[in-house]
């Protein structure tokens, strides 16, 4: 299970990488592994406003469709259009080429509600017990 140290995490298995007032987001390695082969991703469109912990994308695997929630509030600046034809990038590289969207954060104080890597690791270990 890959859990990079420099990212923040949600209980719903999204990650965020904060850089200034912007954040890149995606789903975690644990999430992609649990979902299995990802076949389609409905990404948020640039310009759309998302709110922390609220729906922002849908991930479809062979077995199911799952909701993805925004780790932070803000306006979507970019979405990873590579995923339209290659959703399997999320399986191959959940934290790098499999990123979902970039958000211009409206309230960076929200990051206090996210877990750091050590907390997320403990959280995930607790789930598999």
């Amino acid at each position: 299970m890959i859990i990079p140290e420099n990212l923040l995490y949600t209980r719903e298995h999204e990650w965020a990488k904060i850089n200034g007032d912007k954040a890149i987001m995606g789903i975690t390695d644990f999430a992609q592994s649990s979902l299995g082969d990802i076949t389609f991703i409905d990404l948020p469109k640039p310009g759309v406003k998302v709110r922390q912990s609220e729906w922002c994308a849908t991930v479809e695997s062979v077995k199911a469709a799952s909701d993805v929630y925004a780790p932070l509030s803000g306006e979507v600046l970019k979405a990873n259009m590579e995923l339209a034809d290659h959703p399997e990038l999320v399986n191959k590289s959940a934290y790098e080429t499999g990123w979902f969207a970039e958000i211009k954060c409206s309230d960076l104080g929200e990051k206090n509600k996210l877990m750091n890597s050590a907390q997320y690791k403990e959280y995930v270990q607790g789930l598999s017990k």
């Binding site: 082969d37 389609f40 409905d42 062979v62 077995k63 469709a65 399986n91």
Partner: protein
């Protein structure tokens, strides 16, 4: 409490994802559903199907009512033939879909779904009359499916050249690992393939032996589902059940109207009336997958619901099946929706995947 097949530890050794299916703890995937799916389409895949039920029956058709319990003509089957058919209730609802093997003139094997095994056995015990012995051997008889275009080459090395004589929907006894076992040329994937019936005590050895061939990989129920759906095969409990009839499911081909069977009156009434819901197949315009219970919308109106849906690895789009109130012609546009999800799709014929090796003639 979930039942486990004799191979559960082998699945764990292979790091399979295990999940409940029909009351059993079954392997859903090993390396990944799409990779496994594609492997079966091009090579040979091995499935643990020990969860399914098998009954051994001794019955003379002339001196018992066995023939009336199923929708197919058993008398017309020569020994060595298999047939697919249904057991119906009085209202023509499907109690189960099953395979009948005629072993000898008065000897039969019936193969049924896992979740329905106990109910089917009780039903047969209740309704069978005449000179009959009925035995549930599900606990002691295991089953492996070997499916894929190369399955004949793999099996020939173990079972001998006689395996090439098996035509589609026939079976024979073959010696494997010193046991004489039934192998039928049947399956649920759309590929050339076989179902092997081996006592549970030896099934682990057979599993290992088949997997030692590099052309063979283990395949989970996840890929089994996408493979069968690409063929438009129904899954009991999802596409068909006690509340659906063979006519509604588009499976009238497996009903012989020239014989008596339980449920015939109800089915005949439905046939004559003509107004009943129908199973349709559809392919999405995109990679989005319809899912169980998504609404089927036609010309702006709700027309029915999806029973099975998935991404099709072979075709690259979402595909599915579902019931609609009245027939919608092939080529018509429909929408499959659930909440904010709305998927454009087109009604199609089946199978979705047309290049399967299932009816391949041997070289």
């Amino acid at each position: 409490m979930l039942a486990e097949t004799p191979l559960v530890n082998k699945h764990k050794e292979l790091s399979a994802k295990l999940a409940p299916f029909g009351g059993w703890l079954m392997p859903i995937q090993y390396s990944g559903i799409i990779e496994e799916h594609n492997w079966v389409r091009k090579s040979a895949g091995l499935f643990d199907i020990c969860h399914m039920g098998e009954f051994m029956i001794q019955a003379d058709l002339a001196k018992s009512n066995l023939g009336n319990l199923v929708t197919i003509d058993l008398g017309g089957m020569p020994p060595g033939a298999c047939r697919y058919g249904f057991m119906l209730n009085e209202q023509a609802g499907i109690i189960d879909d099953l395979l009948v093997y005629r072993i000898a003139a008065v000897e039969w094997m019936v193969v049924v779904n896992a979740a329905t095994t106990d109910g089917d056995f009780a039903y047969l015990k209740k309704y069978l009359t005449g000179a009959i012995t009925l035995k549930n051997v599900s606990q002691s008889l295991g089953k492996l499916d070997l499916q894929g275009p190369l399955s004949v080459d793999v099996l020939e090395e173990l079972a001998g050249p006689g395996i090439r004589q098996l035509r589609y929907y026939t079976f024979g006894y073959f010696e494997l690992l010193g046991e004489k076992i039934i192998i039928s040329r049947t399956g649920y994937t759309g590929e050339l393939g076989y179902e092997l019936y081996m006592p549970n005590s030896r099934i682990g050895q057979l599993w290992e032996k088949l997997l030692s061939d590099e052309r063979v990989k283990p395949i989970g129920l996840g890929a089994r589902d996408t493979l069968r759906l690409e063929m438009g095969y129904s899954l009991y409990g999802q596409d068909i059940d006690k509340n659906t009839t063979p006519l509604e499911a588009g499976l009238g081909y497996f009903v012989d109207w020239n014989k008596e069977f339980i449920g015939k009156a109800g089915l005949l009434k439905q046939k004559q009336n003509g107004a009943f819901r129908r199973m349709i197949c559809f392919a999405a315009d995109s990679r989005r997958s319809p899912r169980h219970n998504y609404r089927i919308v036609y010309k702006g109106r709700e027309a029915g619901a999806v029973t099975s849906g998935s991404f099709s690895p072979s075709i690259g789009t979402g595909i599915g099946m579902g019931y609609v109130g009245s027939e919608i012609a092939i080529g018509e546009q429909i929408v499959l929706s659930e909440g904010a999800i709305s998927i454009k799709a087109k009604v199609t014929d089946k199978p979705f995947y047309k290049n399967g090796s299932v009816k391949l003639k041997y070289r």
